[in-house]
């Protein structure tokens, strides 16, 4: 079954899907919505990066991480640290007892910038860190676990615990991290004010283009032999191993990729929303990120993006009108996806919409042929 599904996404279909998605994100949404809503959509799309990573690691590779917030946070904090340093120039912070360091450090009696903040003065380093930090982190977690063949449920629980630890640490070490408030009041990126409407437009487009690029990478990985290997590993890990593959390396690789995707999402989140806080790292947000992928369909990279968009959109709308319904709806979504629609939106599309479209197309072709 699954196999035929995978097959049905023939390359031609993929190109069409990609063009449709690009048209929606780059043309339709910017025309339909004003900058306020568009900025919100941009925020939702940062979660689509995470969902994409989860499609690769969980959907394809069978590795369910309940700690993707860790990586989202790493990217987000790296970007936030850079922006915060830029916002904390000695002129801007002249009233502090130690000008030139972020305000929350000053409140916590720090009199000089901690060493690990120093490199974040450099934008180049920050971009490097957004990729390198999650890679290193994911590699350490992945190597420790996969080399010892810890997987499945245990992996999920341990990643969740790591997310919990990271949250406690960030909140507790507020002099270095901004604590529970997070890093707020970010203003400019290399002198460019990111709070203006025009900047928000530009950031939205940068975000979408990055997302589409990420999608291409994800699609490449999925279509490569490595992608098939991941599917094979889920079917029969031993067979892969006894075909001469070091299974753990492949798992580590895909986990790192998922981490990098999340981290890029986090960085874009910081840029578009204007702050980063531990509330995006812990257990609850990390599990919510899983539902984005699950609703979209954990095997479909396009589904991941639509899933992130739709779930977040529903959250905004529902919580505007019926705040108490939101948790019920969210809970029901988890259960429905598991029980009734294990392939999520993508599955619904494939089993209901696509046959219908195909039938119509065929009917049109037949008509033409008759003429």
């Amino acid at each position: 079954m699954l196999q035929t599904k995978l097959r049905s996404l023939a390359p031609k279909n993929d190109v069409v899907s990609f063009l449709i998605l690009a048209a929606i994100l780059l043309v339709a949404l910017p025309i339909l919505f004003d900058i306020f809503r568009l900025n919100l959509i941009g925020k939702y799309l940062t979660f689509a990066f995470v969902a994409l990573g989860l499609v690769l690691s969980w959907g394809l590779g069978g590795i369910l991480s309940l700690g993707q917030g860790i990586f989202f946070g790493l990217g987000g904090y790296a970007m936030a640290m850079f922006l915060k340093l830029e916002a904390s120039s000695p002129e801007n912070t002249a009233i502090q007892s130690t000008p030139g360091i972020p305000d929350f450090m000053d409140w916590n009696q720090l009199t000089e910038l901690p060493w690990f903040w120093e490199p974040f003065h450099s934008f180049g380093f920050t971009l490097f860190a957004i990729i390198a930090l999650p890679t290193v982190f994911a590699y350490i977690i992945g190597a420790a676990m996969f080399k010892r063949r810890v997987g499945g449920v245990y992996f999920a629980i341990i990643t969740q615990a790591i997310a919990a630890i990271l949250t406690i640490l960030i909140i507790g070490q507020q002099g270095f991290t901004g604590g529970v408030n997070g890093i707020t009041d970010l203003r400019t990126l290399l002198g460019w004010d990111i709070r203006t409407d025009s900047a928000k437009y530009i950031l939205y487009f940068i975000n979408v283009i990055l997302l589409l690029a990420t999608l291409v990478v994800a699609q490449y990985i999925r279509k490569s032999k490595l992608g098939r290997l991941l599917v094979a590993m889920r079917d029969s890990e031993d067979r892969v191993r006894f075909s001469g593959y070091d299974v753990s390396n492949f798992k580590i690789f895909i986990f790192c990729i998922a981490g990098i995707f999340s981290s890029i999402g986090g960085a874009m989140f910081t840029l578009q929303v204007g702050f980063m806080s531990p509330s995006l790292i812990g257990i609850v947000p990390s599990i919510e990120m899983v539902i984005f992928a699950a609703v979209g369909g954990n095997l479909s990279i396009f589904g991941a993006i639509y899933g992130a968009l739709i779930v977040n959109w529903a959250k905004t709308i529902l919580s505007e009108s019926y705040p108490e319904l939101w948790l019920f709806a969210m809970g029901a979504m988890f259960i429905a996806v598991v029980l009734a629609f294990p392939k999520g939106l993508a599955g619904i599309y494939e089993s209901y919409v696509q046959p219908w479209v195909d039938k119509k197309l065929k009917a049109i072709q037949d008509k033409k042929a008759k003429k």
Partner: protein
């Protein structure tokens, strides 16, 4: 997309109230009000007979526990203002948004209220984290936020009015009192691990040391922590005269129950426990029997005997039910709409820039806590009080500062 500017969830009681208000002859309102364009040059949601404000708190999530009281107080104030003729002759409508205990959501909703709904003011936020998230939005779109919670200070925004106490207002007199009245010499500082307790304890420590007294311990536990036996043992070992606590949320329940079980009877005051974080609201969850004998240092207690407060408590109970309790933050939230009304009427305009000019110096003689006045630093002059908790969950006010305490969000010498 919802673009209406009607209250998003009017309760039935509210509906009847509105109906009643609609009966006030429009002509009478018009007689006292200037045309919308005159009082509103920046395109806020002001019509000839209405003005819209936003209420932004968590109705869901972990913080809903704390923020419910503020929502109720703000609604009550708005209804009372409407019943007394509104602001510049205009009835206040409100749009309530749910921050869902999630800081990005707070920022998003604040932006919606300012950009989409063009509200003339926002009553909202509770935690510092939500305020910090909302702050850049308020400053960018030039809104005015009335923030009710007592907090750590270290902030002063042209777009925020802080109607709760900043840390020095709440702490210094409390410690003075413990020294003078109770002869306290040794303090143990205990808090949840985040910015407010840490900042508060820092100020407390400096002040304690300035007074020549001693801090014998300082401990922090993660938010939501429920095991306090170890720290209670440490407290027993150090034998402080005062346990000075800033533990918040669910941890409170665990802390006081375990304190009690470990044989530290609060009524015996050995050591006495002085808290900044337990109001009447929290006691509902902790249970009055667990905190009997506790001292709390804040500016307002439900049991304040003055006439303003008697009327306020009565109105609040009438509106929200007899078994409701009113804590410090709830009262501060109640001040928000009234301060805003006074500032608007003094300015003769809803324009944010104009009310910003009139706000400093605005005074309320009708405040439940007594007289308050807005300081140029956007905080309120207010009194310090110490309450002594009773078994029924109410406080006896055992101390009240004679004069109003000046707010000092950036206290020199305490940083």
């Amino acid at each position: 997309m919802k673009k209406t500017i009607s209250p998003s969830r009017p309760g039935t009681t509210r509906r009847t109230l509105l109906k009643g208000l609609a009966a006030i002859p429009a002509a009478m309102l018009l007689a006292t009000s200037a045309y919308a364009s005159d009082v509103n040059s920046t395109g806020l949601a002001v019509t000839d007979d209405t003005v819209t404000v936003g209420i932004l708190h968590s109705a869901t999530g972990t913080m809903a526990i704390s923020e419910t009281g503020s929502i109720q107080a703000e609604k009550l104030a708005i209804e009372q203002i409407n019943a007394s003729g509104g602001v510049l002759g205009r009835q206040i409508k409100y749009i309530q948004e749910d921050g869902a205990s999630d800081w990005p959501t707070f920022a998003e909703k604040a932006k919606k209220l300012l950009v989409k709904d063009k509200v003339a003011a926002i009553m909202g936020c509770w935690t510092s984290a939500s305020r910090k998230a909302v702050l850049p939005v308020m400053e960018q779109y030039n809104g005015m936020l009335f923030y009710p919670t007592f907090y750590e200070g270290l902030e002063q925004s042209p777009n925020v009015i802080y109607t709760g106490q900043e840390a020095t207002q709440q702490i210094l007199k409390g410690i003075d009192w413990a020294k003078k009245t109770k002869g306290a010499k040794k303090f143990f500082l205990l808090g949840s691990d985040y910015i407010w307790p840490r900042t508060s304890n820092k100020i407390a420590r400096k002040h304690i040391e300035k007074l020549g007294l001693k801090v014998v311990g300082e401990e922090y536990y993660p938010l939501g922590h429920t095991q306090f036996n170890s720290v209670i043992n440490k407290i027993k070992l150090k034998r402080p005269d005062v346990i000075f606590t800033t533990v918040v949320g669910g941890s409170n329940v665990a802390f006081y129950k375990q304190l009690n079980a470990a044989g530290i009877d609060l009524t015996k005051e050995k050591p006495l426990v002085l808290t900044l974080s337990v109001t009447e609201d929290e006691i509902l969850g902790i249970g009055g029997e667990n905190v009997e004998g506790l001292y709390a240092s804040m500016k307002y207690f439900q049991s304040l005997p003055n006439d303003n407060n008697q009327a306020f408590v009565k109105a609040f109970k009438k509106r929200w039910g007899d078994d409701i309790v009113i804590g410090d933050v709830t009262q501060a939230a109640y001040l928000g709409p009234w301060l805003w009304k006074a500032a608007v009427e003094k300015a003769g305009s809803f324009d944010i820039d104009k009310i910003r000019k009139t706000l400093p110096g605005i005074e309320l003689t009708t405040a439940p806590e007594g007289y308050v006045k807005v300081h140029p630093n956007h905080h309120l002059w207010s009194k310090s009080r110490i309450g002594h908790a009773k078994k029924d969950g109410q406080f006896d006010v055992v101390y009240e500062s004679k004069e109003l305490i000046e707010p000092n969000p950036f206290p020199k010498g305490y940083q």
